[in-house]
């Protein structure tokens, strides 16, 4: 028998226990957003806080610390995946160990409460309702970041960023975002000019929620979503939650416009496929988790933006859409619907934004959350700073806070350092889809025919199944031949919005 790294084996047990409890939390978090009556909120917050504390205590225990030291001494006994798992365990331990239990519990309670208040504040478009509780969440994030900077030896913002996109530094983001900022304004003007010469009309509703849902389910099925291991529901803010063997997608429907819910569903399906295709043999281990939020977003945007808004997909999907809604006439022509799906405009809402203006929404939030964290921006001044930033970056000023700084759940939910991953994901999506196109010479014909298995199989092999074996850039290099760059994304934008 071969020698065993016994400490590592014990670590696998402990991390599995933590993952199982985190999975329970994930389902409860989904229930919060989709099922729970308001009166259950206080009890649910206690449940999530208690579970969060338990998972924190498992990982930050002295036992785990000792086992990590011991396992790392015998790392040579481990396979490539096991060694990567140990590396990820150490990374997770560093994050958990940087925080005292009372801070973890306080954060969980504060964010549960603040998320609930946010719903009301957004509904009433009243920032004053949220101000105090958001202030508390920011303060707790500042404490958390301070504790982490000492462990990770980096800036406060980078310490938070590392939770969502391990290894990523704001210095790297600054370079990528500067490239985009240099490119986008001029490009946006060109696109708006080009689009100004024709009218796009919105097909007239109402569009029944049932039909929208059925269409969404049909596309999910075509994209190989496994309904035995997941489901689609409705929530205020669409998200993909749950666990790999029970993925919970949500979307939202409006009866005046079917395009939002459909593309929303396709977006979440991209996230969901990543989760469902994670390697079952590494379930419940850190190396078996998705790589990070940038890579996660790359998978949703690959499906939504690269694939589903492309002309090949539309030529497959538009007839199905027309049939489902019994659409006839000019509004429902391929030309008009394609223009609708490619429409670019300076809008207020990030989740409704097109892929050209989206990065500008992200850059705004990236700036503001850095300023909130450093204290340069006070929570009370957020609405004004938001509106100023919108004016500068997008040239428009939100008429109220519901269309401004109250639109996103992220900060009330405690996630500072998350927003940049959306645009890193958009870049990665373009780069990966380009590589898939090179690897699969018949890809365009397959998409036109509604055959998505070759694409998803390629993604599964090169991205999904790799889980956290490599770094984000390491995985991108293997899959695409290069670390993350802006080039493919810019090329894609030019091709879709200026050349077609």
């Amino acid at each position: 028998m071969t020698q065993k790294n016994k400490a590592y084996v014990k670590l696998e047990d402990l991390f599995k226990k933590k993952s199982v409890l985190a999975g329970a939390s994930a389902i409860l978090h989904w229930d919060n957003a989709v099922m729970m009556p308001d009166g259950g909120a206080a009890a649910r917050a206690e449940q999530l806080a208690t579970l969060g504390l338990l998972t924190h205590e498992i990982i930050s225990s002295t036992e785990v610390s000792d086992l990590l030291d011991e396992a790392e001494e015998s790392i040579s006994l481990l396979s490539e995946w096991e060694a990567a798992n140990l590396r990820e365990m150490r990374h997770e331990w560093r994050h958990e160990n940087s925080l005292k239990s009372d801070l973890v519990e306080a954060m969980s309670l504060a964010t549960s409460k603040c998320e609930l208040t946010w719903r009301q504040a957004r509904e009433d478009s009243d920032f004053s309702l949220l101000q105090e509780e958001l202030g508390e969440v920011v303060r707790l994030n500042q404490q958390m970041a301070k504790a982490k900077t000492e462990i990770f030896g980096c800036s406060a913002y980078d310490a938070l960023l590392d939770q969502f996109e391990p290894g990523c530094k704001s210095a790297d983001i600054d370079i990528l975002f500067k490239d985009l900022q240099d490119f986008l304004p001029g490009f946006l003007d060109q696109v708006l000019d080009k689009q100004s010469v024709y009218e796009v009309s919105q097909p007239e509703g109402p569009f029944s929620v049932e039909v929208q849902q059925e269409l969404g389910l049909e596309f999910m099925k075509a994209l190989t979503f496994d309904f035995d291991r997941g489901r689609l529901d409705v929530s205020h803010h669409p998200f993909t939650g749950g666990i790999p063997d029970d993925v919970r997608l949500t979307t939202r429907y409006v009866t005046t416009d079917f395009t939002q819910s459909l593309m929303g569903t396709l977006h979440e399906t991209g996230h969901a496929l990543y989760e469902q295709n994670l390697p079952a043999e590494w379930r419940h281990q850190p190396v078996g988790d998705a790589r990070g939020m940038a890579m996660h977003e790359s998978q949703s945007l690959l499906i939504e933006m690269q694939l589903s808004r492309g002309k090949e997909f539309l030529s497959y999907a538009l007839p199905l859409i027309r049939k489902a809604f019994k659409g006839e006439g000019e509004d429902w022509s391929d030309l008009n619907l394609t223009r609708l799906y490619h429409k670019v405009e300076r809008g207020f809402i990030r989740v409704d934004a097109d892929e050209v203006t989206y990065p500008l929404h992200v850059i705004l939030r990236y700036r503001l959350e850095q300023a909130l964290l450093s204290g340069d921006l006070l929570v009370k001044d957020l609405p004004a700073a938001w509106n100023d930033g919108m004016k500068e970056l997008l040239g428009i000023t939100p008429p109220n806070d519901a269309l401004g700084c109250l639109q996103d759940i992220h900060w009330p939910g405690g996630a500072i350092g998350y927003f940049p991953t959306y645009t890193l994901g958009a870049m990665a999506a373009a780069q990966i889809f380009e590589a898939a196109g090179h690897a699969l010479p018949d890809l365009k014909q397959q998409i036109t025919a509604g055959e998505f298995t070759p694409l998803i199989t390629w993604l599964k092999k090169h991205i999904h199944e790799k889980a956290s074996l490599k770094s984000t850039n390491g995985m991108l290099e293997e899959a695409t031949g290069s670390e993350l760059k802006v080039d493919a994304f810019k090329k894609h934008l030019v091709n879709r919005y200026l050349k077609s």
Copy 2:
């Protein structure tokens, strides 16, 4: 400052933590039955097992044991409710401490698995699918009972019974059930004779699920159910789950018959009101929990059988039902619908049984589960024994196991010792409703007018808010003037089925 029972205060913290985790499990258990896709079952079973183990470990710890000893020494420092809480803590500790962690975990995994298999076995009416896994659940129950008999100094069956109905002994049940068995067969013949002289017709469907659901929601609202702290959904086997501030009711709809889902919803509403009206100031403490399953069932049966099938409630409800389904003609007359709701017959399915034959279904299960536990009956012989018992008690033989021993989730779910509480509850319901009638002289007129607040307020004061302060019989004595007897139940049956 007054002296404090410091050990007791620490116990409150620990039991709260346990209760919060148990609440998380309760929501996940509801999700299992209502939302979860099949592929999520294995992961969910792990979640529930891990949570079950954690709650077990909290209560059975040496720390709790020491604290209980210490707190009991200073019990004189405690208020009446605190002292009762300490008594309930000790009781819970005895149950948890009787079991080793590996048995708790094995039971949780085995029952999660067995419940899932049961769904399939029932659908296929194939007992052989279930036999092995049910055998494992029975074996684990035997181990569990053996461990408990040593702690509680009682028989194996009584040790399991005590989990669901604390303090209840099979010797007491035997006396009550013998009284029923002496009474019911002759009474059933009389009722069937009386009902044989007229025809009852079932109004013709289909009855849309939406309308059935709306009616159910309307009655729930009239009965003061708080929708801010609960919701109604659909599952295979109706149940009331969740937690007091987030009660999750389920029912099931068939489009050929609206009466089942309506009465099912009313039944679960009785359970739900008990949970919602538990004292908020004792939330998360053992004394704040519902008294036991007999008392819980008394509340569901009080609403379903005593209240909702009574002529006063029907005179309020039948016009609403006719209006909702646009029912016209003889089938929809007060007389026919009342006869439909009072119809007695020898049927196969317990949950569809009328209140006259229901106790016979329970007596069958009570006998069989005692025999399964003692080993006198082997799991493989269960279908035959079931059918023999049905023949003896009800005079009919199920044509297949779906209509026989596969109909209930209880044994696959690990609950042996639960069934008798249904009939104990039926007796208690009659006794409590009779007392409410004496206390509220205008009760009949109020019910006829659809005013249920006086009744629910009385129940809240005398039953719901008492939680676990007293024993079941102690609470019954205070509320009704007598411990549990068969008299009120028999009187009720005679009045409804022979005299009206």
